[in-house]
């Protein structure tokens, strides 16, 4: 299942490395990354494949969210379908 991970917050060292490590530890494969800095705000969007994920979707969301809170980042993971539904006919 494809999902979108979004990371938004103040730029700091190690965001990509940290998120990728968490994802790898759960067996989540990263398919695409786009990242930009907008007015000091770090914004990263990753497309990932959760087919081989060891944790449930909810647990994975919890793991990312907990790490994000420590770093004052907003991290969420959502199934890709919701974005497709909203923006594609």
């Amino acid at each position: 299942m494809k999902a979108i991970v979004t990371v938004i917050g103040k730029d700091q060292v190690g965001i990509i490395a940290g998120v990728c490590t968490l994802l790898a530890a759960q067996g989540v494969n990263v398919l695409d990354i786009s990242q930009t800095i907008m007015q000091d705000y770090f914004t990263m969007i990753m497309m990932v494949d959760t087919a081989a994920c060891r944790a449930s979707f909810e647990e994975l969301g919890g793991i990312l969210d907990a790490w994000g809170r420590e770093k004052a980042l907003s991290i969420r993971i959502q199934r890709e379908d919701i974005f497709e539904a909203m923006h594609r006919i």
Partner: protein
């Protein structure tokens, strides 16, 4: 591949603009629960609901977690209880409401709707018993909603039922006087009620429906409000286009959630109700959308036109986004549940007469309006009759959810809490409608031609 902007736009709608799915409502037929013994009937109802809806709340939570969209309420609608209970040899139907309440507690759903009767042309003894049970049933339960249909375009208005409802509303207010007459907030009096509405208090599972079905109600006034800020000062053509596009996006999300919920629960998908349902939270208000169109305060001249545009554009945008649209579909204007409406009523800009005019073009009616506790029953009946007449003549659903707040008067406030919010008590006309309501009988159905 989705663009960064598209993804961030969705995140912003969820994070800052209060986008949510207001409700996943499971409709359940209870026709096979009839029994001459009311306690046996109550047990059958409890067993059937708890069996069919066992996974409803968990499924809602799972979808919320996977898609990242809040699903605010999980609800159940059932066959109008007056039909189910018709075989019961009992005068008081309160035990059935209590059984529904027990099921709501067991399943952790937010509301169960369908303690209802359809009396638009006449009343069976069972309909009458249900209506007479309302004060006790609504006082003894917290999560049970009731609706009574008193008029249709095809049958006219049952003025005997209208007169009766004025009295019962007063009794319900009295029975729940210690909580600002909150019982009345759980009762809707309809004209042209729909069978697949997922929204409370008017949800019931009509007899033309399947055994079990999933209906979804979307929300999103905050998203529309935000989108309109980008169209400041532009002509109305552009306002309508902006609302349509936004409604399309919101509804697509509703459609996705509805299909997913139906699939997981193994139940057919019914409809998406394309509604702009406000909440008392700042930034989630229908009134503020109307004000964004250029009105100083909601309720001033121009409000009806603004609402007409909004209501129509929401439907036009949403209808292409969903395979089956139904329910009430449109903009809701519940006064106590909308931060902007509350402010407008407090400022004295929004009066009952203007609200009545607005209901000619919005999706429902006089909704969540607190009126003085000493309002006579006949005046309440007359307000219901006016509202039913608008629905009957205009081929649309209209409704009244009026709360005569016991012990309070104009200028005071009724507080209900949660999604029901708080409402300043607004005045009603002082002149009597007593003799009008006392006539009884039926107002005949209107002509369907010569329409001016």
């Amino acid at each position: 591949m989705l663009s960064t902007n598209e993804i961030l736009q969705t995140i912003e709608m969820l994070d800052q603009q209060h986008l949510d799915i207001r409700t996943i409502t499971m409709g359940i037929s209870l026709l096979d629960c009839a029994d001459p013994d009311i306690h046996a009937c109550a047990e059958k109802i409890y067993q059937k609901i708890t069996r069919l809806a066992k996974h409803l709340v968990q499924t809602g939570r799972d979808i919320q977690s996977e898609f990242g969209i809040p699903i605010v309420n999980k609800r159940i609608s059932v066959t109008p209880i007056a039909l189910v209970a018709a075989a019961c040899q009992a005068e008081d139907y309160t035990p059935l409401a209590v059984a529904l309440e027990r099921a709501a507690g067991e399943l952790q759903v937010d509301f169960i709707g369908g303690f209802s009767a359809l009396v638009h042309k006449g009343m069976t003894p069972s309909d009458r018993r249900l209506i007479d049970s309302l004060p006790s049933a609504l006082a003894k339960t917290q999560h049970i909603c009731s609706s009574i249909n008193v008029a249709t375009t095809r049958a006219g208005i049952n003025m005997d039922a209208v007169a009766l409802m004025g009295q019962r509303i007063k009794e319900i207010a009295q029975a729940t006087a210690d909580a600002d007459s909150i019982g009345c907030a759980k009762l809707t009096v309809f004209a042209n009620a729909v069978e697949d509405n997922p929204f409370m208090a008017g949800a019931f599972h009509g007899t033309g429906e399947a055994e079990c079905v999933i209906n979804v109600g979307v929300s999103g006034p905050g998203v529309v409000y935000h989108a309109l800020q980008a169209a400041k000062g532009k002509p109305f053509d552009e306002v309508a286009e902006t609302i349509k596009k936004t409604a399309f996006r919101i509804t697509r999300m509703g459609q996705l959630v509805a299909q997913e919920a139906a699939r997981r629960l193994g139940v057919p998908f019914g409809v998406v109700d394309l509604s702009l349902a406000p909440t008392p939270a700042v930034g989630d208000s229908v009134a503020r959308i109307l004000e964004e169109m250029g009105l100083e305060v909601c309720g001033t001249h121009g409000t009806t036109a603004a609402l007409a545009l909004l209501n129509d554009a929401v439907k036009k945008g949403g209808v292409m986004a969903s395979s089956h649209v139904g329910g009430l579909s449109g903009a809701f204007i519940p006064v106590s549940e909308d931060e902007g409406m509350i402010a407008a009523a407090q400022a004295g800009a929004l009066c009952l007469d203007k609200l009545e005019a607005m209901t000619c073009v919005c999706s429902v009616g006089l909704d969540m309006i607190a009126i003085p506790g000493d309002t006579p029953a006949s005046t309440i009946s007359a307000i219901i009759a006016d509202e039913a007449a608008i629905g009957m003549i205009n081929n649309k659903t209209t409704a009244c959810r009026l709360i005569p707040v016991v012990g309070k008067g104009v200028g005071e406030e009724a507080v209900f809490g949660g999604l029901l919010g708080a409402a300043p008590i607004i005045p009603v006309h002082e002149y009597s409608s007593e003799a009008f309501v006392a006539r009884g009988g039926r107002i005949p159905a209107p002509l369907h031609s010569l329409r001016n």
